[in-house]
Amino acid sequence: MTLLEERLKRGGPVSPHLQVYNMFALTSFLSIIHRIFGAALFVGTLLFAYWVISAAAGPSAYDAAMGFLGSWFGYLLIFGWSFALFYHMCNGVRHMLWDTGRILSLPEIYKSGYAMVACSLTLTVVAWALGLSL
């Protein structure tokens, strides 16, 4: 028996699954991306761990890791991870404002959604511009 069937049988609460939402309304879309990016960030900690573990292994291992991370594929992974990180952080701040009961009206949710996307894009672009120029 699945969890859903079990809950229906008991008459307990059943949480809505993804298909009940219009997944491409801005509100639900940003929320779904928040989760997907959160999970991606967790998987991406492997990349972070690889970086610090190779540094601990010594200079030659560190150079090898830098060779991989500095390749186009490494850059792609780091770029994706950095954007997901900034997005999840900015939207996390939005979530915590909601937790205090603020900005919960629909117009505010749309406005803060656009602001959050703009912030995370800006942070990503600024970070990479600085990282590549220094």
Partner: protein, 128 residues
């Protein structure tokens, strides 16, 4: 700390989680609050050592504040990630035996990777 966030009346009337749901929610928020400044610091740190060789990187990580904040970042990030993954797994993984198995795997992976990362930071920082 977590207890203080819930009113006595709420507890008496059994409003909210009957078990450890609130604590889970609270630790997720606590780590999230910590991770906002830590992430900004981490981004600045990574930018400052982008393209650095091992010696430069080790010098940077060898500074007490950098090593300390890096360990704070690792602890908060892995704890927050583990908790977020638990929520996702509870929502989407069925049947329950599979849910439990995935949860155990994610927990063990988060703790192992987190601890190995912290030890790595200490090795680099203390080796000089």
């Amino acid at each position: 700390m977590a207890k203080m966030m819930r009113s006595d009346l709420g507890t008496a009337r059994a409003l909210g989680s009957a078990r450890d749901g609130f604590h889970h929610w609270w630790i997720e928020r606590l780590t999230a609050i910590a991770l906002v400044p830590l992430t900004l610091w981490f981004a600045c740190g990574v930018i400052s050592v982008a393209g650095a060789d091992y010696a430069e990187f080790a010098t940077w990580l060898g500074k007490p504040w950098n090593a300390g904040l890096m360990i704070c970042f690792i602890s908060a990030a892995f704890l927050h990630g583990k908790m977020g993954m638990e929520v996702i797994i509870e929502d989407y993984v069925e049947p329950r035996c599979a849910q439990l198995a995935v949860k155990i795997f994610v927990n063990l992976m988060a703790f192992a990777l987190g601890i190995v990362s912290v030890v790595s930071v200490l090795i680099v920082a203390l080796r000089g």
